[in-house]
């Protein structure tokens, strides 16, 4: 019997992977992908939870998350493109003007 904990651990692992990606990848696109990974980990939890609880709220949430993630990706990519078009880079190291 695969208990819910297994899903949770897997999801946590995925979430951590995503987190590490955000923390350590210098390429903005990869950072965006990592965030997507984190969201998907969340989705996994919701889906498995929904399944476990026999309750569709989790599924509904997942739909919303997917939608919102798409929006986010849209805005994010637009920003990255704007950055690339203007400065020719998508490296996060470029983003160091604001500090202090």
């Amino acid at each position: 019997m695969v208990s819910i904990d297994h899903y949770l651990v897997l999801a946590t692992f995925m979430f951590l992977c995503g987190t590490l990606g955000v923390l350590f990848r210098r390429n903005l696109l990869m950072v965006l992908m990592s965030i997507e990974l984190m969201l998907n980990a969340v989705n996994l939890v919701f889906v498995s939870g929904s399944r476990l609880l026999g309750n569709l709220d989790g599924q509904v949430m997942v739909f919303f998350i997917i939608t919102v993630a798409a929006c986010e990706a849209g805005v994010g990519l637009a920003m990255v493109i704007a950055l690339f078009r203007r400065y020719g880079t998508v490296d996060t190291n470029f983003l160091r003007v604001l500090r202090g």
Binding site: T19, L23, T92, L95, L98, G100
Partner: protein
Amino acid sequence: MLFWLILFFPLLGAFLNGLVLRKASPTVSHVLGAAALVAAFIYALITYLQFMGAGGQAQVITGIDWIDAGTFKAPFNFILDRLSGMMLLIITGIGSLIHIYAGGYMHEEKATYRFFSYLNLFVFMMLLLVLGDNLLVMFIGWEGVGLCSYLLIGYWYEDDKNAAAGMKAFLVNRIGDIGFLLGIFLTFKYFHTISFSQLKDMILTAGANLNGEQLQAIGWITLALFVGACGKSAQMPLYVWLPDAMAGPTPVSALIHAATMVTAGIYMMTRLNFLFYLAPDTQMVVASVGAITALFAATIALVQYDIKKVLAYSTVSQLGYMVLGCGVGAYSAGVFHLFTHACFKALLFLGAGSVIVAMHHKQDMREMGGLRKFMPVTHFVMLIGVLAIIGFPGLSGFFSKDEILWRAWTGGDSYHIQWGLGALAAVCTSFYMVRLLMLTFYGKNRSDHHTQEHLHETSVVMWGPLVVLAILSAGVGYLNVPHILPFPAHLLFENYLEPVISIPPLVADHWHHLHAEYPHSLEWAIMGVSVIGMAVSSIFAISMYSDGFGKLAQSLGSVFKSGHRVLSNKYYVDEFYDAYFVTPLRDIAQFLWKIVDVVIIDGIVNGVGQACMLIGGLSSFRMSGSLHRHGMVMIVGIVCMLSVLFF
């Protein structure tokens, strides 16, 4: 009512001269100042006569309330008894003479309103001091006379030295005043009153009921008050201000630093004699300090050249006698010497002032000599003054000083040393006073040509008071003639003060010798020692200084070179104080300001601020900038939150 006028006139004079008539001519100031005093004297005399006519019983004159806080009460009450009545006359009487004289002395000054204002104020304060019925009113006068002394010493403030001398006088007096204050605190703490009349009642009537704690406290009270007396009456080790105070105009020296203010300590001790009697240990200290001061100052006076300095040290020395008198329990003797001293020392100072005016404000005796020819009156009165102070038989000093020395000798074995010191001091006194007289009035005139041309006797305004004082100096001694001498009335003064001086029954045994009978031969012997010592040293001084600084004087000076140097440098006391008190204090103050305040305290305060800035700068620099670092900080935050929650 008359009584209040005594206080009112000097105050009015001070007010008018000081604040209203600032544009008035010197003559107006003089007349106003002197008139205020003369009026005060007249009223004092009337009051005194009324008082004595009524039997001379002490009476308390109630005034308004002054301070009234908690259980502490200090009303403006005044005490009129034989002691304060006598002081009243001395102050206003001698004060009037000096005020009159001062007009002549100060005639070259352009605006003397300040001078007379201060002098009048001084008299007012002095009257408060002697009339106050409680320690606190006395303390007003006590500090008030200090203030006036400060202002008058620094009268010629444009010379920084004078200003410094005034300040020194004030500060040294303040040291004593702290002692006085502590005395007041202790008195209030243990007796719940500071009124003289109440204290006296309490001690004398309920003397037996005093508990041990109170008796012990009396020791401390008297000691503390004596510190105050040391300050005001220029005793060791607080005498240093008095010689410097000679920077003031000479009438000031005469009035304040010889006749009146400096005697405040003796007056206070006499006023509280019932307390001092209860503290034999303190009395021992008092007597010792008095005797040591008398000799110490006298030795310094031996070698001074400044005429006023000699008189100043002489004053310190004479005050030592008075204190010695108090210390051995002979308060009436002390006060009697105060009285005679007021006369002859005022005379000597005013005479010296007369000389100084004639010499165009030169005070060095090395430039004088032979003034007898030019100033016969001054010479004559000075001669009387000198004879009085050295104790020439028949003049006032003879009676008063010998009485003190006699009481010291009979005070018991423990007081023989004090007697010895006093007698030695008397020998010195004769020497330096005769030396002063010789150097000033005899021999050849040593001043420069210009001064010599203008040498002449001073005006009547100045020599008039001198004559009066000379008569007093010669005569007042007969008020207290010892039993052994053939005279119609003996010990008038002592009997007069009898009601004031009261030995508490508790310690009557200890002081029994004050009333004991002694063989006449002993008294003759003691007197003989003094007279012989006086005569020998006077003759010695005459022979040494018959014509200026003769060979003998010079050779003695070179033989005792180091001794002479120590004496002329006044035992280096000022230097000692400077090196061991003033300079360290200054260093500490500098350290407190420059190091503690600026570096340590402000350093911490500003350091905290700067540390915040530094941490802020570092943290905002380290944390921000990179996207990843932001994320990292967030993860660290989550980890911290988890650890807070789980552990």
